[in-house]
Structure formats: structure tokens, C-alpha cells
């Protein structure tokens, strides 16, 4: 046993905090694209568009069925070998791509379930007033499904934030990579990783707090 080097930890905090923006950037951009892709796939799965449905199911199955790390390596090391125009792909892009595709597969299933959970009367009322399918989905069904899916989607976002740490395996100096470097210089591994764990933890707790407010906001229409 040795005592923790608190002074070292204290000094490390501002250094590591400097990498938080990159982590959030990768997670936010990934979440943005994943939400769009997942919504499109979820709607497709509900309507079962011929031919397209086979591809979407295959996509979802693959990205849920293989580890995120394998997918990241596939994009980062693999893609440039098969796509001639991609001489190289930078680690941040590969990470965002991997996070987007991986989590969109999970999110598509949550959103699909939420869409199917919207009461039949809502679909019929939208049709009865003469809305097109697109109007019905955008105005009535998806907003109601969003309320049901939101807590799960925030949980995936939390997973995504933690998932950005894998970018370090692609040589990106993000929060995790920076910690690794600092620790290797000081040999104070325990201290360094304790600090980075605390930073992730606080980010996730802040999100959980936001999640509760989001739920209250989304449930506003349904309060008696």
C-alpha cells in the first residue's frame, strides 16, 4: 500500500478536462447521425418496405451482433484497404462512424417498439383528417414515440460517451488516450485512471439529471 498522490491528481484534473470537449464532440455528432439513421430504419421496419427491409434487418443484426471495437477496427484499418479513394481515415472520423452505426442499430429497435406502442386511434385519427403518411409520422406518431423512447435513447447516449474511449485504440488522443499518456509518464496509473473515471462519472451523472428534466418536459402533455 502507498498513499494516493492527491497533488498529482489535482494537477491532472485541468489537463484531462481539456479533452472533454473532444469526447463530447464525438458523442454528440455520433448521436445526431445515429438518431436520424435510427429513426429512418425504425420507420422502415414498421412499414416493412420490400427489399429495403432485408437490408435494414441485416444492418441491425450485424451492428448489434458484433463488438463495437471490432467495428471500429474494421472502419479504421479495414476501409482504407478496400476503398481506393480513402487512402487513410482519421481516428475521430472512424470513431464517430462506428458509434453512429453501432448505436443506430440499437436505437432503431427502441424507436420501432415505441412507434408500435402508439395507440391505434392516433394513426386512424391522423388518417381520417387526411394527413399523408409522412405528415402522420412527423406530426403525430414520432413525437409520441419519442416520449416513450427518450429514456432509453439517453441511456444509449450515455453508453456512447463511454464508448468514445475506444477511440484511444485508434490512436486518437482523447480523454482516455491522454490519461494513458499522462500515466505512462508519471507511473501513477491508479491516480490517473481514478481521475478519468471520475470525469466520465460526473458527465454521466449530469446527463442523468438532464434526463429526468427531459422526461418531465416530454410528459407535460400527458399530465392530468
Amino acid at each position: 500500500m502507498r498513499a494516493l498522490d492527491f497533488a498529482y491528481m489535482w494537477d491532472l484534473v485541468p489537463v484531462l478536462l481539456g479533452y472533454v470537449p473532444l469526447t463530447l464532440f464525438m458523442a454528440l455528432v455520433g448521436m445526431f447521425f445515429a438518431l436520424i439513421l435510427a429513426s429512418v430504419m425504425a420507420v422502415e421496419r414498421v412499414f416493412r418496405v420490400p427489399v429495403l427491409d432485408v437490408f435494414v434487418r441485416l444492418f441491425i443484426s450485424f451492428f448489434r451482433g458484433t463488438p463495437l471495437l471490432v467495428q471500429l477496427f474494421l472502419f479504421y484499418f479495414g476501409l482504407p484497404q478496400v476503398l481506393a479513394f480513402l487512402t487513410t481515415i482519421d481516428g475521430v472520423t472512424a470513431t464517430i462512424m462506428g458509434l453512429t452505426l453501432h448505436f443506430s442499430a440499437y436505437m432503431a429497435e427502441s424507436i420501432r417498439a415505441a412507434i408500435l406502442g402508439v395507440d391505434r386511434s392516433q394513426w386512424e385519427a391522423a388518417q381520417a383528417v387526411g394527413m399523408t403518411q409522412t405528415q402522420m409520422m412527423l406530426q403525430i406518431i414520432l413525437p409520441q414515440a419519442a416520449r416513450v423512447a427518450a429514456p432509453t435513447l439517453v441511456n444509449y447516449f450515455i453508453d456512447m460517451i463511454k464508448g468514445t474511449s475506444l477511440a484511444f485504440t485508434l490512436g486518437v488522443t482523447e480523454l482516455m488516450g491522454a490519461t494513458q499518456k499522462e500515466a505512462a509518464g508519471s507511473f501513477l496509473y491508479f491516480e490517473a485512471f481514478l481521475v478519468v473515471a471520475a470525469i466520465y462519472w460526473i458527465m454521466v451523472e449530469a446527463l442523468s439529471f438532464a434526463q429526468r428534466h427531459l422526461e418531465t418536459y416530454l410528459n407535460k402533455a400527458y399530465a392530468r
Binding site: Q122, Q127, A128, V129, A223
Partner: protein, 252 residues
């Protein structure tokens, strides 16, 4: 109110699997006519209304509204949209958009379907909310409204569409008895404007009051029809007589 087109239904058939629910229904409704449909449970009354705006697609038979004729053999998506835009539907369970306020429930279709400006739609919605006695509930969500209030919004939403035919599927049967009166009152006011209406209801007194014609349906067919006096007082078909006797017993 703009002038409305008449409705002509010809040879409508609908089956669910093996069971034939509508059998060769033909029916003309004149502009401004108020028609009430009565009949035993499971007879196809709801199915008839749902076929008239293609919530259920008929197997065969044409529906004509003014210059629009829709035939399930060749109805395109845009034909169906056109038909739905010339009819409006009041649901038994209200079916208000749960994520929209009372006012938005009314403006929604005016803006997205009819392409009205937000300001025009709001003005029209406020007019209707006053008419339905819900001006103070404009910003309430359906979950915060009583059954009677929800159904009045449901009727208001349908009124706003200014349809050639308003369809009502048992608009009061899901309501607690205390709210039935206010909903029937509102329907009376709609009827007074000579809005063409096709109403399925078990409220016999109300039917007698507002109907120009009552249709008795049984087993997927129109058995008998006539003025309220004629159909309710001197029904000819034994099935109509049996039904009215049963209703008289349970209704009082």
C-alpha cells in the same frame, strides 16, 4: 358554409377473412341530409363508416362524393387522400392527438392538410372552440380534459375540416352519462347548419329529433329505412321491430 356535394355509395362489400361484414350496401345521401344508422351490435355499422373514408378498404363498390369517385379496384393513394379530405370522422373513443393541445388538435389538419396559414387556422380554431364552449380549454392537452370535453374537441376538429360528409361512430357511447348531454347538444348545433351527417348511435330520442332519415342495418345489410316517424313507429321488417322492442326495454 360553402355548398356541399352529395354522397353516393354503390354496391359496397367488405369481408374480414371469411366473414362478410358489409353486403352490397348502396346508399345516397343528399347535401345537408342528416342520416342516422341504427342496428344490433356486430352488424357492420362501424365498418360502413370506416369504409367511407377508407380506414377500412372496401373489397368492392364505389363511393362518390361530388365529382370524386373512389373504387377499391383502382383507388390510388391520392384518391384515398382526396376522399378523406372530403369526409371527417368523429370517433367513439375521441382519438384526439395526445401530443397536441385542444387548439392544435383543430389547427393541425387545417395547416398540414389544407395548407392554411397558422394565423388563419388559429382564428378558425378559436372560433370553433368558442362554439363548442371550450374557449378556456384551448391550451389544455387531451389528458387534462373530461370525456365530454374531449369529444367536443373531436367534433370541433371534424367541423373545422368543412367536409362534404361528417361521420359519427357512436360519439357518446364511451362517455359517462353526465357528459352525453353536452355532446348531443353540440351535434344538434352542427345539424342545424345543415351539415351532411351520417351518425351511428344508440340514442333513439336524439335520432328521432335530428334525423331526416333513419337506416336500420342488420347483418351487413340495410334492412329498412325511412323518416324517424315511419321507421320508429311503423317498422315493416320483423328484424327492425324486434330490435326496436329490445332497445325500448333496455333504453328506459
Amino acid at each position: 358554409m360553402t355548398s356541399h356535394a352529395g354522397i353516393s355509395i354503390n354496391g359496397l362489400n367488405k369481408s374480414f377473412g371469411e366473414t362478410s361484414v358489409l353486403k352490397d350496401i348502396s346508399l345516397d345521401i343528399a347535401p345537408g341530409e342528416r342520416v342516422v344508422v341504427i342496428g344490433p351490435s356486430g352488424t357492420g355499422k362501424s365498418t360502413l363508416l370506416r369504409c367511407l373514408n377508407y380506414l377500412d378498404r372496401p373489397d368492392s363498390g364505389t363511393i362518390r362524393v361530388g365529382d370524386l369517385t373512389v373504387n377499391p379496384a383502382k383507388a390510388s393513394r391520392s384518391d384515398i387522400l382526396a376522399l378523406r379530405r372530403r369526409t371527417s370522422f368523429v370517433f367513439q373513443n375521441y382519438a384526439l392527438f395526445a401530443n397536441k393541445t385542444a387548439r392544435q388538435n383543430i389547427t393541425q389538419a387545417l395547416i398540414t392538410v389544407k395548407g392554411q396559414s397558422k394565423a388563419d387556422a388559429q382564428a378558425r380554431a378559436d372560433e370553433i372552440l368558442r362554439e363548442t364552449g371550450l374557449a378556456d380549454k384551448a391550451d389544455s392537452y387531451p389528458a387534462a380534459l373530461s370525456g365530454g370535453q374531449q369529444q367536443r374537441v373531436g367534433i370541433g376538429r371534424a367541423m373545422a375540416l368543412d367536409a362534404d360528409l361528417m361521420l359519427f361512430d357512436e360519439p357518446t357511447s364511451a362517455l359517462d352519462p353526465e357528459w352525453v348531454g353536452e355532446v348531443l347538444d353540440l351535434m344538434r348545433r352542427v345539424a342545424e347548419k345543415r351539415q351532411t351527417m351520417l351518425i351511428v348511435t344508440h340514442e333513439m330520442q336524439f335520432a328521432r329529433e335530428i334525423a331526416d332519415r333513419i337506416i336500420f342495418m342488420s347483418d351487413g345489410q340495410i334492412v329498412e329505412q325511412g323518416t324517424p316517424e315511419k321507421l320508429l313507429e311503423t317498422p315493416e321488417d320483423p328484424r327492425t321491430q324486434a330490435f326496436l322492442r329490445r332497445v325500448a326495454k333496455t333504453g328506459s
